[in-house]
C-alpha cells in the first residue's frame, strides 16, 4: 500500500463509520454549546439594545468592543476561565473515545454498532490514557529542549545576539525543528495506539521502540500520508476562511449561513482525525500482512532443511 492509497483508505474508513463521525462531531458541538451557554446573555446585556451594536455588525470596532469589555469583561473572563478545564476534560474524553474508534476500525469489515464502539472505549480507555500522558510528556520535553536556546536568549535580554534578526533565525529553526519532532512524535504515538489495539498488547513502553522502527522503516509511506492530511486541512481551512469572509456576517441570514459553514468545517476537522487514524490502521495492517506473507515461505524452507 502506498501513501496515497493509505490516505484514500483512511477517508473511506471514516465515511464508512459515519455514525461514529456524527457522534464525535455531536460531542464537539455539545462542548461548544456548553462553553457558549452564558455568552448570549452577556452579549445581550451589553449590546442588544445599544445603537453602537451596528458598528460591530459591520466589522470589528475598537471603541464598541473596548467599552463592552470594560463593562462586561469580568463576566466574559469567567466563561473563558472555564475553557482550559473544559478542554482538558474534552481531551481525556477523546482519549477514551479513541479506543472505540480503533476497535471499530479493527473490525472494519463488520457492521458498525455503538455497542462495540463503547466496548472499545472501555477496553482501551485506560491504556490509551497512559499513552496520552506519556506522549504529552515527550511533547513537552522536546518543546522545552528545542526552545531552550530561545528562552535563554530572551532571558539574557538579547545580550547574546547580534540583533533581532539572529533571534528570528533561532526562532525559525526552533519552530521547524519542533514541528519535525512533533510530527514524528505524533506519528509514533498513533502507531503505538494502533499496535496496542490491533495486536492486543498491554505495555505502552514495549511498543515504543517497535513503533519508532516501524515509522522509520516505512517513512516514505507514513510521512507523506501525514503530509496529505496536513495539506487537506490547510486547503479546507483556507477555503472556509475565504468563503466566510466573502459572505460576511452582517445580516441574520448571513450569520446563519456562516454558522452552518462553521459547523461543516468543525465536522470536517473531526473527520480528519478519524481519517488519519483510519489510514494508520490500514497502513499498519497492510504492511503487517505483507511482512507475514514474506515470512511464511522462510518457515517452510526451514522445515525442509
Amino acid at each position: 500500500m502506498n501513501f496515497f492509497v493509505g490516505y484514500l483508505v483512511g477517508i473511506w474508513y471514516a465515511v464508512r463509520r459515519m455514525k461514529m463521525w456524527l457522534l464525535l462531531y455531536s460531542i464537539t458541538l455539545l462542548f461548544g454549546i456548553t462553553a457558549t451557554l452564558a455568552i448570549p446573555d452577556i452579549l445581550g446585556a451589553g449590546l442588544s439594545d445599544t445603537l453602537s451594536a451596528h458598528k460591530l455588525m459591520e466589522g470589528f470596532n475598537h471603541t464598541v468592543f473596548d467599552d463592552f469589555i470594560h463593562d462586561h469583561g469580568q463576566k466574559l473572563s469567567v466563561v473563558t476561565g472555564r475553557l482550559p478545564l473544559m478542554a482538558f476534560i474534552f481531551i481525556l474524553l477523546f482519549v477514551w473515545l479513541t479506543g472505540g474508534i480503533l476497535k471499530t476500525y479493527d473490525m472494519i469489515a463488520e457492521k458498525f454498532t455503538f455497542q462495540r464502539f463503547w466496548a472499545g472505549c472501555m477496553q482501551y480507555g485506560w491504556l490509551l490514557t497512559r499513552v496520552f500522558f506519556l506522549f504529552l510528556f515527550i511533547h513537552l520535553l522536546v518543546a522545552f529542549l528545542v526552545y531552550l536556546p530561545m528562552i535563554r536568549v530572551v532571558r539574557s535580554g538579547f545580550e547574546a545576539l547580534e540583533n533581532e534578526l539572529s533571534f528570528y533565525r533561532i526562532l525559525k529553526i526552533s519552530v521547524v525543528v519542533h514541528l519535525v519532532f512533533a510530527v514524528f512524535i505524533a506519528m509514533v504515538s498513533d502507531y503505538v495506539k494502533v499496535r496496542l489495539v490491533k495486536e492486543g498488547r498491554k505495555s505502552v513502553f514495549k511498543e515504543l521502540l517497535p513503533s519508532v522502527r516501524f515509522v522509520f522503516r516505512h517513512f516514505h509511506r507514513t510521512f507523506p500520508m501525514y503530509l496529505m492530511y496536513l495539506l487537506m486541512f490547510v486547503l479546507v481551512a483556507m477555503f472556509y476562511w475565504w468563503l466566510s469572509e466573502r459572505i460576511g456576517m452582517q445580516t441574520m441570514s448571513a450569520i446563519l449561513v456562516v454558522f452552518v459553514l462553521q459547523q461543516l468545517y468543525i465536522f470536517f476537522r473531526v473527520g480528519t482525525k478519524l481519517m488519519n487514524l483510519g489510514s494508520i490502521c490500514a497502513m499498519h495492517e497492510a504492511i503487517l500482512l505483507r511482512d507475514r506473507k514474506r515470512e511464511q515461505p522462510l518457515e517452510i524452507e526451514e522445515i525442509n532443511v
Binding site: 475598537h62 469589555i69 506522549f135
Partner: protein
C-alpha cells in the same frame, strides 16, 4: 518666466538657509543659557570628559547668589537614587549589581566663575523634591560674587561622566551611544510671576523615573570627539568634522534657540538623507531595520506638513531621526531638540504602525516641550497630552481613524479611539487627577492620565468648540508662548479668550467648569439612557355614564387614534457634569434633538402623542469622548439580537476549533 523667478527664489532661500540652524534671521528665543562644550568619548572606558562654557543671563530683577545644575546621570549612580529607588518595578535587573560597567555617574570636577576664581568647593548636592540625601541629581553652587539683575556671566567648568548602560533614555548598549542629559545642565531661574512662581526661585527638580526635563533656551556649540569609525548624529546643524592624530574624529554641531542638546554615535548607523521644504531630514537607521526607511521618512514629512498647516511652521533646518538597535531599545521613543528616537524592530508588519506613531509623536514634541517649553517635571500633561492629541490627529488623518494604530487580521484601532480607551479602560480612572507633577502618580496612572486622558479631553474640547475654533486656540497659544515657558493656566487663559471671542457665552462665561473637571479633578463622566417606555393612554377606561347607566370600559387595545406617553430616563453615573444633546427617534421616522445641561443625577424626557419612541441617543455625534461608556449612551426599545448571535456563533466556533485542534495531542 514665472518658473525661472520661482527657481531663483528657491535657490536664494536655500543659499540663505545653508549653514543656518533656523529659518529666522533673528534669534527666536531670549537665549538665556548658552553652552559651548568640548566632549570626548572614551569608548573603551565608557566615559565622557568635557569642558563647558556656560554663558548665562539673569532674567530677573533679583540678585542671584546660587546656581542649580542637573546632573541627570547620577540617577544611575547607585540603587539609592530617587530615580532607581522609587522605580524598582520599572527597571528590574537592568542595572546588574554584579556588573559595575552598567552603572554610571556624572560629576563636575572644576568650576570657575566669571572672575576666574575656582569655586568647585562651593558645590553641594541638594534634594529639592524629597529628603533622599542619597540622590545626587541636583547640585547647587554658591557663588562668591552674585549675578545681578539682567547681568550676563560666563562660567567655565570641567566635567566627567561614566556612561550607564541604557536603562531609560540615555546611555550605551554595546557600541551604540545615546547621549542625552549628559552634561551639567543649568536649571531654570523663574522670576516672580513666571508660571506659578510667587517669588524668584530656581526650578531644578531631581530626576524621577517618570519625569522629564525643563530648561532655558539658548545656543549650543558642541564639539564631539569620538572614534573615527563612529557615525554621529546630534541636535542642530553639522558644521564640520575633522580627523585627529589619535584616530578620533571631532564633529562640530551648532543648535540655536533650543532647550537641550542630544547626540548619538554608533559605527552601525546607516545614514539616509531627505528633504522637506527647508528641513534636512537625516535618518540614522540600523542596517537590520532598513526596510522601515520609507515609513520613517514618510511619517516625518506628514508630521512636518500637518504642523505647518495647523499650528505653525517648523523653524529649524534639521530633523534627525535615530533608530535604536534592539540592545538600545530603551532609548527609543524620546524627544530632544531637532533630534528624536524612533522605534522599530526588523520584520515589523506595516499594519502595526509603531514606526509611524513614534515618529509622529516625538516630532510633535518639537512643538510641545521644545518650542512651547513647558515644565515637564511639574506639568507632564502639558507636553505629553498635547503631543498625543496631535499624534492622533495626524495618524487618523493619514492612516484612517479606525486603522491608524493597527490594522491586522481584522483587528483595527484608530489613534484617537485608542487613546480614549487607554483612559476609559483604566481599572481605576479616578486614581489621580491629571494636574500633578510627574512623580506624583505614585500608584500608577501616569501614562493613561498625562498622555491619554489629556488627549481625550482636548479632543472633547475640540468636538465641543469645533475644529476651526480649536485650531484658533492652539495657534494663538503657540504664537503667544513659543520659545517661552507656558504653564497650564496660560493655555486655559488662551482657550477662554478664543472661545469667548468665537462663541460668546455659548459654553458659559468661560471654560473653567470644563478644565476644573477634566484637569484639576479626578471625576469621571458617564451618562446612560436608563429606560425608554411607551405607555398607551387609552381614551376610555373605567366607569362611564351611558344613557343613565354606569358602563365599565376596560379596553386597552391599541386603536388607530391611540395616544402614548413616551418617557426617556437618563442617568448621570459619574460625578462630572457635561452638557449633552439627546436625539430621540419615533416610530414614524421623525427625530427630535433635545439638550440637557447634565447637572442633575437623572433627567426625563416626556412625550405624549400618537407616535412611540424607537430609540434615544445621548450625544449622537460622540462629541464627549470623556464618557466612560459610549455603548450605554443609546438605547432602542426593540432589542436587536443579530450582533448577539453573530458573536455567539463566532465564540462557539473558536471553542470547537480549540478543542479539535487539541486532538492532535491524542
Amino acid at each position: 518666466m514665472r518658473r525661472t523667478v520661482l527657481w531663483f527664489g528657491v535657490i536664494l532661500l536655500a543659499n540663505s538657509l545653508f549653514g543656518q540652524a533656523t529659518i529666522a534671521d533673528e534669534p527666536l528665543s531670549d537665549r538665556i543659557a548658552n553652552y559651548d562644550i568640548d566632549v570626548i568619548l572614551d569608548h573603551e572606558n565608557r566615559m565622557i570628559r568635557g569642558k563647558q562654557t556656560l554663558t548665562w543671563t539673569n532674567p530677573s530683577s533679583d540678585t542671584i547668589r546660587t546656581l542649580q545644575f542637573h546632573l541627570y546621570l547620577n540617577a544611575f549612580k547607585n540603587s539609592q537614587s530617587t530615580f532607581l529607588s522609587k522605580s524598582s518595578r520599572e527597571f528590574p535587573g537592568s542595572l546588574k549589581a554584579e556588573d559595575k560597567e552598567t552603572w554610571g555617574y556624572s560629576e563636575i570636577v572644576k568650576f570657575i566663575d566669571q572672575h576666574g576664581t575656582e569655586i568647585t568647593s562651593n558645590l553641594q548636592y541638594i534634594q529639592p523634591d524629597d529628603d533622599n540625601t542619597s540622590d545626587q541629581t541636583v547640585i547647587e553652587l554658591t557663588l562668591d560674587k552674585p549675578v545681578y539683575p539682567k547681568e550676563t556671566h560666563q562660567f567655565k567648568l570641567e566635567f566627567q561622566a561614566k556612561i550607564p548602560k541604557i536603562v531609560a533614555r540615555t546611555g550605551y548598549g554595546r557600541d551604540y551611544y545615546f547621549m542625552v542629559q549628559w552634561f551639567p545642565k543649568l536649571g531654570v531661574y523663574e522670576p516672580a510671576g513666571m508660571r506659578y512662581a510667587e517669588k524668584g526661585q530656581w526650578n531644578c527638580h531631581q530626576y524621577h523615573s517618570q519625569s522629564e526635563y525643563y530648561a532655558d533656551f539658548g545656543v549650543y556649540n558642541v564639539r564631539i570627539t569620538v572614534p573615527k569609525d563612529m557615525i554621529v548624529g546630534a541636535s542642530g546643524i553639522f558644521e564640520s568634522g575633522n580627523i585627529n592624530d589619535d584616530g578620533t574624529r571631532t564633529h562640530v554641531y551648532r543648535a540655536e534657540d533650543v532647550i537641550d542638546f542630544a547626540w548619538t554615535a554608533s559605527p552601525h548607523f546607516q545614514e539616509v538623507k531627505d528633504k522637506w521644504e527647508h528641513v534636512n531630514i537625516r535618518l540614522l537607521i540600523q542596517p537590520e531595520h532598513k526596510e522601515h526607511t520609507i515609513r520613517y521618512i514618510k511619517a516625518a514629512k506628514q508630521a512636518l506638513s500637518y504642523f505647518k498647516k495647523h499650528l505653525g511652521v517648523y523653524p529649524y533646518t534639521t530633523l534627525t531621526i535615530v533608530d535604536p538597535p534592539i540592545y538600545g531599545i530603551r532609548s527609543s521613543g524620546m524627544e530632544y531638540p531637532t533630534l528624536v528616537t524612533g522605534a522599530s524592530i526588523a520584520k515589523l508588519p506595516n499594519a502595526i504602525r509603531t514606526v509611524e506613531i513614534i515618529t509622529v509623536h516625538e516630532f510633535a514634541h518639537q512643538y510641545f516641550m521644545q518650542m512651547l517649553a513647558s515644565n515637564e517635571f511639574e506639568e507632564p500633561w502639558l507636553d505629553e497630552g498635547f503631543t498625543t492629541y496631535f499624534e492622533n490627529r495626524i495618524m487618523d488623518q493619514y492612516y484612517g481613524d479606525q486603522t491608524a494604530t493597527i490594522d491586522l487580521l481584522g483587528y483595527r484601532a484608530g489613534g484617537m479611539e485608542q487613546s480614549r480607551t487607554s483612559y476609559t479602560g483604566m481599572r481605576n480612572p479616578q486614581i489621580a487627577e491629571v494636574f500633578r507633577p510627574a512623580w506624583g502618580f505614585k500608584h500608577g496612572g501616569y501614562n493613561s492620565l498625562a498622555y491619554h486622558k489629556t488627549c481625550t479631553w482636548i479632543a472633547t474640547l475640540d468636538n465641543m468648540v469645533g475644529r476651526e475654533v480649536m485650531d484658533d486656540i492652539l495657534i494663538t497659544y503657540f504664537e503667544r508662548w513659543k520659545f517661552k515657558h507656558p504653564c497650564g493656566q496660560d493655555f486655559i487663559d488662551v482657550a477662554n479668550e478664543v472661545v469667548s471671542k468665537r462663541h460668546g457665552e455659548k459654553f458659559g462665561v468661560n471654560l473653567d467648569w470644563f478644565f476644573d473637571q477634566v484637569l484639576y479633578s479626578n471625576e469621571v463622566c458617564d451618562y446612560k439612557i436608563h429606560t425608554i417606555t411607551n405607555n398607551l393612554i387609552t381614551n376610555k377606561i373605567g366607569f362611564f355614564d351611558q344613557e343613565g347607566e354606569k358602563v365599565f370600559i376596560e379596553s386597552r387595545e391599541e386603536v388607530e387614534d391611540s395616544v402614548y406617553n413616551s418617557v426617556v430616563i437618563i442617568h448621570r453615573l459619574g460625578q462630572a457634569k457635561f452638557p449633552v444633546d439627546i436625539l430621540v427617534r419615533f416610530d414614524d421616522g421623525t427625530e427630535v434633538l433635545e439638550h440637557w445641561e447634565g447637572i442633575d443625577p437623572t433627567y426625563e424626557l416626556n412625550y405624549t402623542g400618537s407616535k412611540k419612541i424607537e430609540w434615544a441617543h445621548l450625544d449622537p455625534e460622540s462629541k464627549n469622548l470623556m464618557d466612560l461608556n459610549l455603548n450605554n449612551n443609546s438605547k432602542r426599545v426593540e432589542r436587536d439580537t443579530d450582533v448577539v448571535w453573530k458573536y455567539t456563533s463566532k465564540f462557539m466556533f473558536w471553542v470547537q476549533n480549540l478543542i479539535t485542534t487539541l486532538t492532535v495531542l491524542i
